[in-house]
């Protein structure tokens, strides 16, 4: 079996086992209602994690994601409540601003050869700071569009609801998977993560691909910000603090190698669901502190890093050559 499929398989098995275990304790967990809420509650995280998957696949990191989400919520709130823009117009503006922000970070990484860690750390401070300058206080959003969106959903058998933002996350995952696995851009991303020198020698436009990757990540973070604003109906400069780390966790738990080159978008989806499952379980339990989520995620993360170490460094497989006689 393909080596890179093994972590994905492991994640899937662990999710199924964990879900079965949780259901055996709280049968109420096995309902479309819970599943629908998984999607809705984690929509912003999932969308940001798709962008993060591309970044990590290419061997990079994006620490600015949470800050960009926070900035976007504030920007949208200001545009809607103070400038009177229609939310859709505000979303468009926010996405353009986020895309430009990501492109700038990508250009710095590609042309100035500054490590992504440093560039996106600077980006994180910039975005978070800018959000606080615009408005240090939370701005509530009251708009007919927001009400309409929150009341639009697809009813599943069993009373579950696929909300607009939950559906949007699934769509982003599907499009992300197509982009990663079936386009030239996707190939270039994996090539960059595998070996940037080889990639350049094989004709991959390395700077352009790098810029596009960070543009994509920031744009999706912007989209996640819009989703977060729909979800919370507010804009707050300190919202989504640390979401980049949750996204990184989802990506790694989903089987993507932190050093790049191996992984799947679908794995990230399971990684997000797994985090959602842990949170839901704690809510069902009622007596556990919500910080247990962090502890479980930390444990899972550690386990998966060990697993990848075992799969990718211990075995250096070499197929027998099948020469024609």
């Amino acid at each position: 079996m393909n080596r890179s499929l093994r972590p994905l398989l492991a994640t899937t098995i662990i999710f199924v086992l964990a879900y079965a275990l949780a259901v055996s304790q709280y049968p109420g967990l096995l309902s479309t209602r819970v599943l629908g809420n998984f999607l809705t509650d984690n929509a912003f995280l999932g969308i940001a994690a798709v962008g993060m998957t591309f970044v990590i696949l290419a061997g990079g990191i994006d620490l600015s994601v949470g800050a960009v989400i926070g900035f976007t919520t504030v920007l949208i709130a200001v545009l809607v409540m103070w400038a009177g823009l229609h939310p859709l117009a505000a979303f468009a503006v926010a996405l353009v601003v986020a895309a430009a922000f990501g492109a700038t970070m990508g250009a710095a990484i590609a042309y100035l050869q500054v490590p992504a860690f440093i560039v996106t750390l600077a980006g994180m401070f910039l975005a978070r700071g800018a959000a606080s300058v615009i408005s240090p206080d939370s701005i509530g959003i009251k708009h007919d569009f927001y009400t309409a969106v929150s009341q639009t959903y697809l009813l599943l058998p069993g009373g579950g609801r696929i909300t607009v933002i939950g559906g949007l996350m699934v769509a982003v995952f599907v499009l992300g998977a197509l982009l990663a696995h079936r386009t030239r851009f996707g190939s270039a991303v994996y090539a960059l993560g595998g070996n940037p020198t080889s990639a350049a020698l094989m004709g991959v436009p390395v700077p352009r691909t790098t810029i596009l990757i960070y543009t994509l990540s920031s744009t999706l973070a912007g989209l996640a910000g819009a989703v977060f604003s729909l979800y919370t109906k507010a804009g707050y400069s300190l919202s989504a603090v640390g979401v980049e780390l949750d996204a990184i966790a989802a990506v790694v738990i989903g089987g993507t190698l932190l050093t790049g080159g191996y992984g799947f978008i679908a794995g990230t989806f399971i990684g997000v669901l797994l985090q959602g499952l842990v949170q839901t379980y704690i809510v069902f339990d009622g007596s556990l502190s919500s910080w247990w989520t962090k502890i479980v995620i930390g444990g899972l993360l550690f386990m998966f890093i060990l697993l990848q170490r075992l799969i990718f460094s211990a075995s250096a497989p070499s197929r027998k050559a099948l020469w024609k006689a």
């Binding site: 079936r182 994996y190 090539a191 070996n195 197929r319």
Partner: protein
């Protein structure tokens, strides 16, 4: 018909370089070099390390731009900006370290950058079918959907060749393609190269192995010190003539070496008494004397390197003691070994030896500085003086001593490491494979250096798989087998046949790896 053939012969070479010059700082890497590759020939490019082979190849493939002269493709002068452009003009390159993506499928490696798409989506089926067809032409039937990294280096090499030929199709540059292949794989590779030659490609072949040149090439061009020595047709040429072209002198170890096994040795310097480490090396006892070279022979994995690492405190011994001048102690760190007057040149120069980005001077003084301690910093003048003295003594060829060590050739890098230890005025020097990855001419120089150090009264322990060399400089030879010191040879016993017998352990001394198919 005759006319057509005449026109064929008059056709310009596919790739030609005229009067190429390249200067790095003050150093003339290439000076007035001519080179050409014709359709349907294998043209070998030879030279010692530092002769300018890789610089020339980089210029021909667009990775470097020449400071003088011109490159012509099919008679037309071209300016090669980068490898991509050279590829577009028909010049493809396969490097020693395969420059493909081991994390992607074989098919994707063949098509990356030019995948056929429909509605923006890559047509995987088409790619896989075409990849199978392409590789079948090279006699390779493999699962093209599998990760490239799951195949052997030989197959990766052929995939790299297939990609280069698909993309360029006129000139194929093979930069030491056989370095990490076994003999069967080399034969397969040569079959592929001959087939490509028959298809009318011009093949430029760079290697260190003379017999491979004679097995494969039609013509040979030899470079020395950045200058062209000559281009000759191989038919009717002998290996000795080619070696003479490369070295510019008749080289024979028998003449290069003086003294040898009979030289007098001085008093004992150090005794490793029962030093060993479970699972690494069985305890051994070995005394080194002043003015003595002890050679260590043995196959790869016999415990040679592990032994050296124990003796320098890199790995910790779990038994035994070191006796030195009346003191008895256990080695616990390399720093302690340096303080006791030991020096160690490890096997993997690039990984464990040089500080690639530091200058020649910094590389030379670093061990001395460590020995002095950081409170007694060497002044710049002292550093320049010390580096200059040892660089001259060992004939280190660098344009200046402030250039990064990574820019030097392998032989000169090795001499920098030697200089580093000599600067500490050591009493014991441990050299692990000092001539590995260095070409023949530099071998002789390293061997001469070893002999000179012995005459200066150092105690040396030299690990080498080159039996001729070990025999040439050793007063004594210890033989390692299966992590044990199995023999100690002196005087008359020191000859390659006896050593081979000891390594093989009496049983079938003729069983060399080459004999097994």
């Amino acid at each position: 018909m005759a006319q057509a053939q005449g026109a064929q012969a008059a056709a310009p070479p596919l790739l030609q370089a005229r009067q190429i010059g390249k200067i790095f700082g003050q150093h003339h890497a290439l000076d007035g070099v001519d080179f050409e590759a014709r359709a349907g020939e294998v043209h070998a490019l030879l030279g010692e390390n530092g002769a300018g082979k890789s610089t020339l190849i980089k210029i021909l493939t667009g990775a470097l731009q020449p400071d003088a002269g011109e490159v012509l493709v099919e008679g037309q002068p071209v300016h090669l900006r980068d490898p991509q452009q050279a590829q577009g003009l028909g010049i493809g390159t396969v490097y020693q370290e395969v420059n493909l993506l081991t994390n992607r499928s074989v098919a994707e490696n063949l098509f990356l950058g030019r995948q056929p798409t429909r509605f923006g989506l890559v047509r995987k089926g088409v790619i896989e079918r075409q990849a199978r067809q392409i590789l079948a032409a090279y006699g390779l039937e493999i699962d093209v959907r599998a990760e490239l990294g799951s195949y052997s280096v030989a197959i990766q090499q052929i995939v790299a060749i297939a990609r280069a030929v698909e993309l360029s199709g006129k000139v194929l540059v093979l930069d030491e393609p056989t370095a990490s292949l076994d003999r069967v794989e080399v034969d397969k590779l040569f079959d592929v190269v001959r087939a490509l030659k028959a298809r009318g490609l011009a093949i430029v072949f760079i290697t260190h192995f003379l017999d491979q040149v004679f097995a494969l090439a039609d013509r040979v061009t030899v470079l020395r010190n950045g200058r062209l020595v000559g281009t000759k047709t191989l038919a009717g040429l002998s290996q000795t003539e080619v070696v003479r072209m490369m070295l510019g002198k008749d080289l024979s170890f028998a003449h290069a070496i003086g003294g040898g096994p009979d030289a007098e040795t001085g008093p004992a310097v150090v005794t490793f008494d029962g030093i060993g480490r479970a699972g690494k090396v069985h305890p051994f006892t070995l005394t080194l004397h002043e003015g003595e070279v002890v050679g260590v022979a043995g196959l790869l994995g016999s415990g040679r390197t592990e032994m050296a690492r124990l003796m320098f405190g890199v790995d910790l011994a779990d038994s035994g003691m070191v006796r030195m001048g009346g003191r008895v102690f256990a080695l616990r760190s390399p720093a302690q070994a340096v303080a006791a007057g030991f020096g160690f040149c490890p096997e993997d120069r690039k990984l464990d030896g040089i500080f690639a980005d530091l200058s020649v001077r910094e590389n030379i003084i670093i061990a001395l500085q460590a020995r002095l301690g950081w409170f007694r910093m060497l002044t710049t003048e002292e550093q320049v003086d010390i580096a200059g003295r040892f660089a001259d003594a060992l004939d280190i060829r660098a344009a200046h001593h402030d250039m990064a060590v990574k820019l030097l050739s392998g032989g000169n890098q090795q001499k920098v490491i030697l200089a580093r230890w000599l600067a500490t005025d050591p009493r014991v020097l441990i050299l692990d494979e000092p001539t590995r990855g260095i070409d023949v001419g530099a071998h002789a120089e390293i061997v001469r250096t070893i002999n000179r150090l012995r005459e200066d009264g150092l105690a040396l322990l030299v690990i080498s798989s080159e039996l001729d060399e070990v025999v040439a400089y050793s007063n004594r030879i210890v033989v390692m087998r299966e992590r044990q010191m199995v023999a100690e040879l002196r005087g008359e016993q020191i000859d390659p046949a006896t050593i081979v017998q000891a390594i093989a352990g009496q049983a079938a001394p003729d069983q060399t790896p080459e004999e097994t198919p």
